[in-house]
């Protein structure tokens, strides 16, 4: 299946790509469209695009929306969702120290990658690592 998001991926979109690959669609193909595009051809699922189903809702990040929409039960995903909420959205409480660091690492990762595709693939390693550390 094709999954689309805006160019210049960051902390939330890298996390969504990881989640989609690991839990929803192993053969997921990611496409990157110019910032601002909100309509997509049939059969393409947009994520982290304003107004989309898999996007920010009720003050939560898009990763949170994917976990909820696909009813993913792994409790560690809730924890990661909280980390990304704090990294990517305006929150009152800060209970996840990894959040700020993760945000800056993911934006740096995009800077050293030749394109979004490469950034997403590398981001998957970051989230594998985060998951492993939390699972310990």
């Amino acid at each position: 299946m094709k999954w689309a998001t805006w160019e210049n991926v960051g902390v939330d979109r890298m996390a969504c790509a990881w989640l989609i690959r690991k839990y929803i669609d192993q053969k997921a193909e990611f496409i990157f469209v110019p910032e601002g595009q909100t309509t997509f051809p049939k059969g393409v699922e947009p994520f982290d695009v304003p107004g989309a189903r898999l996007s920010h809702h009720g003050g939560h990040c898009s990763f949170y929306a994917v976990v909820r929409e696909y009813k993913l039960k792994d409790p560690l995903l809730k924890r990661i969702a909280r980390i990304i909420d704090e990294a990517d959205t305006v929150q009152e409480a800060h209970v996840e120290p990894a959040a700020a660091g993760l945000d800056i690492i993911c934006s740096g990762l995009r800077l050293i990658s030749s394109d979004d595709q490469e950034a997403i693939e590398r981001g998957i390693i970051i989230y594998d690592a985060l998951y492993a550390a939390l699972a310990k």
């Binding site: 210049n8 304003p50 107004g51 996007s55 920010h56 809702h57 009720g58 003050g59 959205t89 305006v90 009152e92 800060h94 700020a100």
Partner: protein, 146 residues
């Protein structure tokens, strides 16, 4: 002063009257972003990748509440862009000044002050020179050099 090169991001919005919690929610978010109200329901921030993203998300949340939003990118033609800059810069600088004051007191709570510093840093859009001072003062209070 004539035309300024600073690009500003303007969010104008309407939120339905009820439930009133929604209006408070939007207001709190705007304050947490360090935005300034130009008029009722017209808020401004300097344009950065982050502010554009945050305003966009807030706009889509307001629309989910049944509200209406318009997001603008704009430049001031005349008037006093410096006034707007200092108003927005003051948000972080007020916190910085407060931290420096607290650090001069007897046995300050350095951990709590460090957290406030980080929060202020996130909305220090014009890179205040005070940030470095606060950082050094926090480290000095812990007996560390920067």
């Amino acid at each position: 002063m004539g035309e300024s090169s600073q690009t500003w991001l303007l969010l104008s919005y309407k939120v339905p009257r009820a439930p009133s919690a929604n209006r408070v929610y939007v207001w709190r978010k705007l304050k947490r972003l360090g935005a300034t109200a130009l008029a009722d329901s017209v808020w401004v921030l300097p344009l950065t990748r982050q502010t554009r993203e945050q305003f966009r998300w807030l706009a889509s949340e307001i629309e989910e509440m049944g509200g209406e939003t318009t997001l603008w990118e704009s430049k001031l033609l005349d008037g006093a862009p410096d006034k707007l800059v200092s108003e927005i810069a003051a948000v972080a600088e007020t916190v910085y000044r407060d931290i420096l004051k607290s650090l001069r007191k007897k046995s300050p709570d350095v951990a709590a002050l460090s957290r406030r510093y980080q929060e202020a840093l996130a909305l220090d859009y014009f890179g205040s020179a005070m940030a470095a001072k606060v950082r050094s003062a926090l480290l000095a209070a812990k007996g560390e050099d920067d």
